[in-house]
C-alpha cells in the first residue's frame, strides 16, 4: 500500500506539468519560434516537467522511495494557528490575534505546560508590538478599538 502511495509523488508532478502545458496550448498564444507568445515557455517547461515526472515514475516503480508518515496533529496545530490569526485580525486586531494563534499552535506541542504557553503567547504579542509597531512603524490595527 505504501508503495502505491509512494508513486503518487511523481504523479502529482505529472499532473502539474500537464496542467501548465495543456493550459498554455488551450488558452495562450504560442507565437512563432522567432517571436514567442506568452504560452511558448510554459509549454516547454511544462512538457519537460511531464517528461521528468515519467522518468521519476519509472525510477520509483523500480526502487520506490519511502514516504514519510504525516503528523496530522502538527498540521492541525499550525493550520489552526494561521487560520486563527487570519480570522481574528480583522475582528480584534493584530495583537489579540497573535496571542490566540500562539496558544493554538502551542497547544499541540506535548510537554509544554499551560502557564508556559500563556507566557509565550504574551511574550510574542509584546515582541510583535515592539518590532512591528514601535520599531518599524507599520500601520497595523494593533488592538481593535484602541
Amino acid at each position: 500500500m505504501r508503495h502505491l502511495i509512494s508513486h503518487a509523488g511523481p504523479l502529482i508532478m505529472l499532473s502539474a506539468g500537464l496542467f501548465f502545458s495543456v493550459g498554455a496550448v488551450t488558452s495562450l498564444d504560442l507565437g512563432s519560434f522567432r517571436r514567442m507568445g506568452p504560452g511558448a515557455f510554459p509549454l516547454l517547461v511544462g512538457g519537460l516537467l511531464c517528461l521528468l515526472a515519467l522518468i521519476g515514475l519509472v525510477q520509483n516503480l523500480r526502487h520506490p522511495l519511502p514516504v514519510d508518515h504525516a503528523d496530522p496533529v502538527a498540521v492541525l496545530g499550525v493550520t489552526g494557528g494561521v487560520v486563527g490569526f487570519a480570522l481574528l485580525t480583522p475582528l480584534l486586531g493584530v495583537l489579540p490575534a497573535t496571542f490566540i494563534a500562539v496558544l493554538t499552535t502551542a497547544a499541540v506541542i506535548p510537554g509544554f505546560r499551560w502557564p508556559m504557553r500563556l507566557a509565550l503567547a504574551a511574550g510574542v504579542a509584546v515582541g510583535v508590538w515592539l518590532i512591528f509597531v514601535l520599531c518599524l512603524g507599520i500601520p497595523f490595527t494593533a488592538i481593535k478599538g484602541i
Binding site: I12, A16, F33, R34, P42, L65, T89, V102, T105, P110
Partner: protein, 502 residues
C-alpha cells in the same frame, strides 16, 4: 588604487550606525538560529524578508547576509556539544567536535571553530574582493543566449545536490519556473494561469512562497519531533588551545578555506559539500590522519573554515552573475529585485555602494561573531539547555505577522498557509522545496532571456549551442548531470567512515 577607493566607499556605507546595528542584529539572529537545531537559516531569512522592505536595500542585504553567515558559526555549537548539527553544513564538525567535548575539551573546540570560521570567512571575503569585479567585467560580454545558459547551469547545479536524486530536484526546479509564469506576461500583457483571480495578476509573491515552503512546512515537519531539552550541554573547560594545537591548526585552516572558497563559487553546491570535501581531502593530506574522528583539532578546523569560506564566496555568482549560489542566496536576490535592483554583471558598477558596503560589512559581521562566539559562548550553551519547542509557535505567528505587514492583505496569509501545506506534502513524498524556490526566482528572468535570444537568432534554437560561451556553459551543465551518475556520496562517506572506525 581602484580597489582602495572602492573599499573606502564600502567602509562609508557599512560603518554607519544603522548598518552596523542591523549587521549585529543579523549575525546575532543567525547564531541563534544556527545554534538551535530545527529551524534553519533559510527560514530565518524568509521571515526577515518583509522587515527588509522597510529598510534601504544595502541595509536589508547586510542584515540578511548576517543571518546567513552567522548561522554557520552557530551551527557548530550544537555539533560540538550535542553531536547534533545545528545546520547541515556543520554535520562534519560533529565527527571530531563531539569527541573533543567528551574528552572535556569543548572549550578548545568552540574556540578553534570560532577562529577557524573567522579565518575562513575573511579568506572568502578576500577571494570575493579580488574575483568579483573581474568576473562581472567578463560577464558583460554575455548576450541573452549566455545568460539563459548560465541560468540553466545554476538550476542544474541546484538540483543535483538534492538528497532525493537529481530527477526529483529537476522536477522541483521546473515546478518553480512554472509557478513564476503565473501573472501578467511582460512582453504581451496577457495574463497567464491566474484562473480569473485578480490578486494573481501581479504573480505569486516571493515572500509568500518562501515563508510557506520554508517557514510553515519546516515547522510542521519538526514541531513535534524532539521535545526534550538538551541537558547534556555542560562543561566547557579551558578555552585557549595550547601552542602545539595552534601550530597544527594553521595549515588545515588555509587548505580548508581554499577548498571552501572554490566550492562556494560554484552555483548550487554550497557549504555542506565544501565542508565534506575539505574534511575528506584533509584526511588524505594530514600526517595525523589516524587521529581524525577521535577528537583531532584539525577535524573541527577544516570543515568550519571551509563552510565559512564557502558562505562568503557564494556571494560571488549571486552578485556578479545574478545566479544564486544557494537557496538562501536566491532569497537575497529576490530581496534585491523587490527593491528594484536587477542582479547581474552591471550591479557592481551601477550600485557600487551596495556591493562594496556588503563586502566591508562582512568584515564587521565576522568581528561581531567572534565576540558573540568567544566571550559570550556561555549564553549559547545555556540556550541549548532550554527546550526549543517554544520557538515553533512563535515562528508561525511571526510568519503571519510578517506576511500581513507587507500590504495588510489577509489573502497573502491564506496563500502562505496553502504553500506551507503543499510544501509539507511534497516533503512527505521526498521532494525538497529548495530547488523549487531557485527555479521560482530565476524563472521569469530565464524566460525573458530565452525569448530575447530566440528573437536575436531569428527563431534558430541552435544559437544556444553555436555561440561558444553558451555552448561551454551548457556543456558544464551536462557534465554535472553526468557526474551525478557516479557514486560520489558512497566515496565520500566510505572515506569518512573508514577513518571513523580506524
Amino acid at each position: 588604487m581602484d580597489l582602495l577607493h572602492n573599499l573606502a566607499l564600502g567602509l562609508n556605507t557599512a560603518a554607519t550606525m544603522q548598518n552596523l546595528i542591523y549587521c549585529f542584529v543579523g549575525v546575532f539572529l543567525g547564531t541563534f538560529i544556527g545554534a538551535l537545531p530545527g529551524v534553519g537559516p533559510l527560514a530565518a531569512v524568509a521571515m526577515l524578508l518583509p522587515v527588509s522592505f522597510y529598510l534601504p536595500p544595502e541595509t536589508a542585504l547586510v542584515m540578511l547576509a548576517g543571518v546567513y553567515y552567522g548561522a554557520e558559526y552557530g551551527g557548530s555549537i550544537a555539533s560540538i556539544l550535542l553531536n547534533i548539527p545545528g545546520t547541515p553544513s556543520a554535520s562534519v564538525t560533529c565527527i571530531d567536535g563531539y569527541p573533543m567535548a567528551q574528552q572535556g575539551r569543548a572549550g578548545v573546540a568552540l574556540f578553534s571553530t570560532a577562529m577557524a570560521s573567522m579565518f575562513g570567512a575573511l579568506f572568502g571575503v578576500v577571494v570575493m574582493v579580488l574575483l568579483s569585479p573581474r568576473l562581472a567585467e567578463f560577464a558583460l560580454l554575455f548576450q541573452p543566449a549566455e545568460y539563459f545558459s548560465v541560468m540553466v547551469l545554476g538550476l542544474v547545479a541546484a538540483s543535483i545536490v538534492s538528497t532525493s536524486g537529481v530527477v526529483r530536484g529537476l522536477m522541483m526546479v521546473c515546478l518553480g519556473i512554472l509557478l513564476g509564469t503565473i501573472g501578467v506576461d511582460v512582453n504581451s500583457g496577457e495574463t497567464r494561469f491566474t484562473g480569473g483571480i485578480p490578486q494573481l495578476r501581479d504573480g505569486v509573491s516571493l515572500v509568500v512562497v518562501a515563508m510557506g515552503l520554508f517557514g510553515v512546512s519546516e515547522v510542521i515537519t519538526s514541531m513535534r519531533g524532539t521535545t526534550q531539552s538538551y541537558a547534556g550541554a555542560g562543561m566547557i573547560g579551558r578555552m585557549f588551545p595550547n601552542r602545539d594545537e595552534w601550530r597544527r591548526s594553521f595549515m588545515p585552516a588555509v587548505r580548508g578555506s581554499a577548498i571552501g572558497s572554490f566550492f562556494g563559487t560554484l552555483p548550487g553546491t554550497g557549504q555542506t559539500v565544501a565542508s565534506f570535501v575539505a574534511y575528506a581531502l584533509e584526511k588524505r593530506l594530514n600526517k595525523r590522519a589516524d587521529q581524525f574522528g577521535k577528537g583531532a583539532i584539525e577535524g573541527v578546523v577544516v570543515p568550519e573554515s571551509a563552510n565559512n569560506a564557502a558562505a562568503q564566496t557564494a556571494f560571488i555568482p549571486t552578485l556578479t552573475l545574478g545566479i544564486p549560489g544557494s537557496t538562501t542566496m536566491a532569497l537575497m536576490l529576490g530581496a534585491l529585485m523587490i527593491h528594484g535592483i536587477t542582479p547581474g554583471p552591471r550591479m557592481i558598477s551601477e550600485h557600487p555602494e551596495l556591493f562594496w558596503g556588503l563586502v566591508v560589512s562582512f568584515v564587521f559581521g565576522n568581528i561581531f561573531l567572534l565576540i558573540l562566539n568567544i566571550p559570550l559562548i556561555g549564553l549559547w550553551v545555556r540556550l541549548l539547555r532550554v527546550p526549543h519547542y517554544f520557538l515553533y509557535p512563535a515562528v508561525i505567528v511571526l510568519i503571519c505577522v510578517g506576511v500581513y505587514s507587507i500590504s495588510n492583505s489577509l489573502t497573502d496569509i491564506w496563500a502562505t498557509l496553502a504553500f506551507g501545506l503543499v510544501g509539507y506534502v511534497l516533503r512527505l513524498f521526498r521532494f525538497e522545496p529548495a530547488p523549487m524556490l531557485i527555479g521560482f526566482v530565476l524563472g521569469p528572468m530565464m524566460e525573458e532571456y530565452f525569448r530575447r535570444a530566440m528573437l536575436l537568432s531569428r527563431g534558430d534554437a541552435t544559437v544556444f549551442f553555436t555561440r561558444p560561451g553558451s555552448a561551454a556553459l551548457l556543456l558544464v551543465a551536462i557534465l554535472m548531470l553526468c557526474a551525478t551518475m557516479l557514486p560520489w556520496r558512497r566515496w565520500l562517506t566510505a572515506g569518512l567512515s573508514r577513518r571513523r572506525q580506524a
